[in-house]
């Protein structure tokens, strides 16, 4: 009961707060902007045809009414929430009248698959490599890994993706430039292997950046950890080094990394968005890119809302799982 009050409840409140701030921001941004999205959209729609001014004005009126922009801001805000709560994100302008939620639902599994795999790989390898390199910091291989990480860490995801494309797709031609998979979707080897084949470079570009980030944190945590008394005691007691490293040091450094994963999910998600665009991987990032290209304003709105709610929920779940890993939180 104590756990619920001191740990779970504040986190639930935090989640409500994040979702509230995020959704309010997406409501305010278009309305505060100097450019009217309706005019922008109409200009795009009527760009290749002439129209008499009266019917243009009528069209403008009806579009404003369609968005409910003729009502007071507070009424708009209430309608906005009630529509969101029903899961209604409006129709897509690019593929009218296909609902935005439908478009996102088709793309979502690709992003979740890519992001989930890349996050799992990069978190595990970053934590383990960082702990190893921190523990054996005088070894040659540890220094080589660290050099590599220091170079990879600051490079933006987009640039990593382009470097991989230039090397593996353009120069060596080992992997395809674009696409998600080949053949009919189904549980057969051909389809699954093509999934791996097409997903390799996009996943690798996220994994490199995210691993470097994790590695640097894990290494500095390990450096602090190996200075603590229990490690010296274990060393004096002739506990095998590998055992100290894996059973004690690595396990202790993992805890802050779990909390930090919740905070850094947003950054990894951004990386996935951009990677998908570069590799034309058919996920959320790619539909966002197409939406920017077509001026499909509702899809961009939908993706923004979904990513805010999605990232906040994922962070909440990680935070809620934390007591499972850390008994101290449970007993406090």
């Amino acid at each position: 009961m104590n756990l619920l009050r001191t740990y779970i409840l504040p986190r639930l409140l935090q989640w409500v707060m994040v979702v509230f701030v995020g959704i309010t921001a997406t409501f305010l941004i278009p309305r505060l902007s100097p450019v009217n999205p309706v005019d922008e959209m109409l200009a795009r729609m009527t760009a290749f045809q002439s129209m008499d001014p009266d019917s243009f004005a009528a069209m403008r009126e009806s579009t404003i009414a369609l968005f409910g922009l003729d009502k007071s801001p507070i009424e708009q805000y209430i309608t906005y929430w009630s529509r969101l709560l029903q899961g209604d994100l409006g129709p897509s302008f690019g593929n009218f009248p296909r609902p935005v939620s439908d478009i996102i639902a088709t793309a979502l599994p690709w992003t979740i698959g890519l992001l989930g795999t890349a996050t799992a790989i990069s978190w595990t390898s970053g934590v383990l490599l960082g702990a190893l390199a921190g523990y054996y910091h005088n070894r040659r291989w540890a220094q080589v890994i660290e050099r590599f990480v220091v170079v990879a860490y600051p490079i933006p995801y987009l640039i990593i993706a382009f470097v991989l494309i230039l090397i593996f797709a353009a120069w060596l031609q080992w992997f395809p430039l674009v696409g998600g998979a080949r053949g009919d979707p189904g549980f057969n080897w051909e389809y699954i292997s093509s999934l791996l084949y097409f997903g390799f470079l996009p996943a690798l570009s996220i994994v490199i950046g995210a691993t470097a980030f994790r590695f640097i944190m894990a290494k500095s945590l390990t450096t602090t950890e190996i200075a603590s008394d229990y490690v010296q005691y274990a060393e004096l007691a002739a506990v095998p080094k590998r055992k100290i490293m894996l059973y004690y040091v690595a396990r202790n450094t993992m805890l802050p990394q779990v909390t930090d994963l919740a905070l850094s999910l947003g950054a990894i998600f951004e990386g996935a968005l951009i990677t998908e665009v570069v590799f034309a991987y058919p996920g959320i990032g790619f539909i966002t890119y197409n939406a920017i290209y077509n001026g499909d304003y509702n899809v961009i709105m939908g993706v923004t809302l979904l990513s805010i709610v999605g990232i906040a929920t994922a962070s909440l779940l990680i935070d809620l799982l934390y007591p499972v890993f850390d008994p101290r939180v449970r007993l406090r």
Binding site: P34, V35, I155, V163, A170, E270, T288, I292, G295, T304
Partner: protein, 307 residues
């Protein structure tokens, strides 16, 4: 200050290497002033799609631009955009973090819960949304302002943590008990600790802004007429340079971006080592132990403190 830089240059390989890279970047930026082409008239000046050769060092683009001279402008503009973003973002972050750290109480709790929420919200989708709405009316400067307005949450949290830890230090208590005024404590006692921290933080701000500029321009959400690292990649991609094998159009901005972020990052690693007292001690001990080039003067930690 100069002594600090000299010491960093001597003892920190990453600072040395990073500042050399930044020097190359700075030379490229300065060269943009000597460009034979004007910034807004780069197109259709040279033969299209030429591979790198003696007269076009990095080749030419499908729009008839000389890649090398475009790149000098691009690096400069990307740095201008990032500087605007850093000044705005860190400005808000420093003020908010320090005020909430010093004031504490309800103000602190309210700001903290807002900051925590803003940190979790992914910024790129929001920037894409704003960029898509403002598309067409976006300039280099508004892009910088926009990036800055979304990059203050994490810095403010870190400044607050710094202030909170400084407030608990022994010397703050001594100052309070000896009757020093709050303003004086902040300026005379705490600012010397905050400023070096700010320096490292500003660099990480540059890393973020460069990355976001490149990303947004690549998505076509910036002013595509002014050359930046991102717009160079955008146009290279637009003319499908990788598909048709004109990779030099892409390699130049990609390598330039890597050099820029790497230079900044290595310098900040060097600074970080200097700022972390534990690491500084380890380093100084290592140098007195093998005593290769360090004279005893350099190894005296008290000396560095006076700088």
């Amino acid at each position: 200050m100069l002594t600090t830089i000299r010491d960093l240059f001597r003892f920190s390989p990453s600072f040395r290497f990073g500042s050399l890279i930044l020097l190359v970047v700075a030379i490229l930026v300065l060269l943009s002033a000597a460009s034979p082409y004007e910034e807004d008239k780069l197109r259709r000046k040279v033969k299209r799609n030429q591979p790198p050769a003696a007269n076009y060092v990095f080749g030419t683009t499908s729009q008839g631009q000389d890649v090398f001279w475009t790149l000098t402008y691009a690096i400069r503009n990307t740095l201008v955009i990032s500087s605007i973003a850093v000044v705005i973002g860190r400005g808000i972050g420093v003020v908010l973090g320090m005020v909430s750290g010093y004031l504490g109480g309800t103000f602190d709790r309210v700001t903290q819960s807002i900051v925590e929420s803003v940190i979790v919200i992914p910024r790129l989708p929001l920037l894409i949304l704003i960029g898509a709405i403002l598309r067409g009316s976006m300039t280099m400067y508004s892009l910088g302002i926009m990036i800055g307005l979304l990059d203050w949450a994490y810095p403010s949290k870190r400044y607050r943590a710094q202030v909170l830890s400084l407030r608990e230090r022994e010397f703050t208590h001594t100052a309070i008990f000896s009757g020093m005024s709050t303003i004086k404590i902040v300026i005379r006692e705490h600012l010397p600790f905050i400023i070096p921290f700010m320096l490292a933080d500003v660099i990480s701000g540059f890393l973020f802004s460069i990355g976001i500029e490149v990303t947004l321009s690549y998505l076509g959400l910036a002013n595509l007429d002014s050359p930046t690292i991102g717009t160079m990649i955008y146009w290279g991609n637009y003319y499908q340079s990788i598909f048709v094998g004109r990779t030099w159009v892409m390699i130049a901005p990609v390598v330039a971006a890597i050099l820029m972020v790497l230079g900044f990052y290595l310098v900040s690693v060097g600074l970080g080592e200097y700022l972390d007292p534990r690491k500084r001690l380890v380093r100084l001990q290592a140098h007195t132990d093998d005593n290769s080039e360090a004279s005893p003067d350099d190894a005296d930690p008290r000396k560095e403190k006076d700088v």
